[in-house]
């Protein structure tokens, strides 16, 4: 999948967050529920996937790798 596009979305959403280094984006409180909702909207549009409330767990959004894995899984499903 296109990681560059994902990094661009993340950087636009929260330019103040170091997405490459932080592996606890949700657990550390860096991303809150408002960010998650905005991010989900962007991801659904960019990758033509459907992210439901069931997928909103910290493990799916704690790092760029986790977000990539979620997108890949939903694209394959």
């Amino acid at each position: 999948m296109d990681t560059e596009a994902l990094m661009k979305i993340l950087a636009e959403l929260r330019p103040d967050v170091d997405f490459e280094e932080n592996k606890e984006l949700v657990d550390s409180g860096e991303l809150d529920s408002f960010d998650i909702v905005s991010l989900v909207g962007e991801l659904c549009d960019a990758y033509d996937i459907e992210i439901g409330a069931d997928d909103i767990v910290p493990e799916n959004f704690n790092s760029v790798e986790a977000i990539c894995a979620l997108i890949t899984r939903l694209q394959e499903d």
Binding site: G29, D32, S33, F34, I36, V37, S38, V40, G41, C44, E50, I51, G52, A53, D54, I56, V57, D77
Partner: protein, 532 residues
């Protein structure tokens, strides 16, 4: 059986002894029996409601679990022949099927809660409306006493059911084990609202006795009792006196009452939660955190992330996300971008569900207009806070205000405290109009007699009580600031020498015995959140 009563202490000690004396594989059974004895002693008449919730949750969860395993097998067989759209359609059809089980269970359980809690309020208001419109007839008004902890155990069990529906947890197939999860006695009275994936395993496993854990549990319980009996119940005397006479005591009296009520409700609720958490810790069970020094919050959203955390998390996971990620709100967001531009359009799927959540949180607190007003007040503050966050940051930058410094943080904390205190006036005043009157009088009347002419001494507390209250609040603030800077109080205390440790333990016990509010009309069972 109040958490601060001698009966509760005895009950807890006997339960813990029985638990650790039971053979390991049966310990969960002892805990289950103990829970039901506690609930029976606390309000045996209402047992039927707890049983109804347990049974319906059990049946619905098992049905959902069976459906999920059948679907898994069928989907694995059919998957190869389906394209992406086909797989999507399969999943959507299965979700619809599962909703036929989930929705009736939710309706039934939230229906019981709603009828018991809100039917009187709704009928009263409808009757008033009929009378005003000149429509004949009157709805009968039933007054129900709320079963102990119904708001808490309903939310906990429905959270579990939704998790099973979402296939995040496996359904519990042992009815007694599910009953144990729903009725764990330290938390059933006023929370924290537990999650199955973190709490259940701790309840079902055979926990070993640990002296350190029991010691930490008892320490936390003492601290909770201190917050409740020395601080909250003492300041309550003053608060009750001012809120009891909103028309005669205005101006600075209202400000003192608002601050006092902030202290009271925090001491009362977080004290009760500390007792519950400490009691659970004795059994080797860690409950979810419910408070994180809320009055050190720097904004209203931050306050709600620190206050009654488990309720906020429940609404976030089971109401906010499903609403804001629903097709309707996502479409609304896209339409909003076209009409209002990117900034507001992006925020719409967040703002409206957020407002709905706070409206619901307001109603959750009780069936009165003042709680609805409280929900609307908080929802409005949150929405305005989100909308103006960026513009205000830009303004501060333009004015050259440094935002990364201590003084700005102090300003943010005080500003948040004032906004929270105004909200507390709404919930504590006898009604909405009284709260409006009190807030107006605080702004218009600058009479400061309360501070200079012995006004504080006319509110039910003598000079000694005021000093105890002041020093106790200083102790509470000191502990909060230490915790905020990362100090673990109990672990730090454990590292001190024997004499110092015991001086602290004995000091805590004596302060409870000597300074805890007792008296003829004193009722320690009145934990405020117990009524919610």
């Amino acid at each position: 059986m109040a958490f601060t009563s001698f009966r509760f202490v005895v009950f807890l000690a006997v339960s813990a002894a029985l638990y650790f004396l039971t053979p390991k594989r049966c310990r969960w059974v002892t805990l289950f029996v103990v829970n039901y004895v506690f609930y029976f002693l606390a309000g045996g008449r209402y047992f039927v409601y707890l049983l109804a919730t347990t049974l319906t949750t059990y049946l619905a969860a098992v049905m959902l679990g069976n459906m999920a395993s059948k679907n898994k097998t069928a989907f694995a067989e059919a998957k190869a022949g389906l394209d992406k759209e086909g797989r999507k359609a399969w999943k959507a059809a299965f979700a619809r099927k599962k909703r036929f089980v989930l929705v009736p269970a939710l309706l039934l359980n939230f229906g019981i809660l709603s009828i018991l809690k809100y039917s009187g309020f709704v009928c009263n208001n409808l009757n008033a409306l009929f009378a005003r419109l000149g429509v004949g007839g009157e709805l009968p008004i039933f007054r129900f006493l709320l079963p102990l902890g119904i708001s808490f155990y309903t939310f906990q069990s429905m959270g579990y059911l939704i998790d099973v529906y979402r296939e995040k947890v496996e359904p519990e197939r042992n009815l007694a084990k599910l009953a144990l999860f729903i009725s764990f006695f330290p938390q059933i009275v006023q929370g924290p609202i537990g999650r199955f994936n973190t709490l259940a395993e701790q309840l079902f496993r055979p926990n070993e006795f640990s002296y350190t854990r029991v010691k930490f549990g008892v320490q936390l319980m003492l601290w909770g009792a201190f917050k409740k009996m020395v601080i909250a119940d003492r300041v309550a005397v003053m608060v009750d006196n001012i809120f009891g006479f909103p028309e005669t005591l205005g101006g600075c009296y209202v400000a003192v009452a608002a601050l006092g009520y902030c202290i009271q409700i925090y001491g009362d609720f977080s004290g009760g939660i500390d007792i519950a958490t400490g009691a659970a810790q004795i059994f080797g069970i860690t409950l979810d955190k419910n408070f994180e020094r809320p009055y050190l919050a720097t904004s209203i959203p931050d306050f709600w992330r620190r206050w009654h955390i488990t309720l906020g998390a429940w609404f976030r996971d089971y109401v906010f996300y499903p609403l804001s990620l629903s097709k309707f709100f996502q479409k609304l967001g896209k339409a909003g971008r076209r009409v209002f531009g990117n900034y507001i359009g992006k925020l719409l799927p967040v703002l409206i569900p957020q407002f709905i959540i706070f409206f619901l949180i307001g109603i959750w607190h009780g069936a009165e207009w003042k709680y609805i007003a409280f929900g609307v007040y908080n929802g409005t503050l949150i929405v305005l806070g989100i909308l103006f966050e960026q513009p205000l940051k830009n303004l501060a930058k333009r004015l050259g205000i440094r935002m990364e410094c201590f003084s700005w943080r102090v300003f943010q904390v005080l500003r948040t405290l004032v906004l929270v205190a105004l909200g507390k006036i709404i919930t504590r005043a006898p009604g909405v109009s009284a709260s409006v009157y009190m807030i107006r009088s605080m702004v218009e009347n600058w009479d400061t007699n309360i501070f200079w002419e012995g006004g504080m001494l006319k509110l039910g507390l003598d000079e000694k009580d005021l000093w105890i209250l002041f020093l106790s609040c200083c102790a509470l603030l000191t502990v909060s600031l230490l915790q905020e800077s990362g100090v673990k109080i109990r672990e730090t205390l454990a590292k001190q020498n024997l004499y110092f440790r015991w001086a602290v333990y004995l000091g805590a016990v004596f302060s409870l015995v000597l300074f805890g509010v007792y008296g003829l009309n004193y009722d320690a069972s009145d934990f405020i959140y117990r009524g919610f």
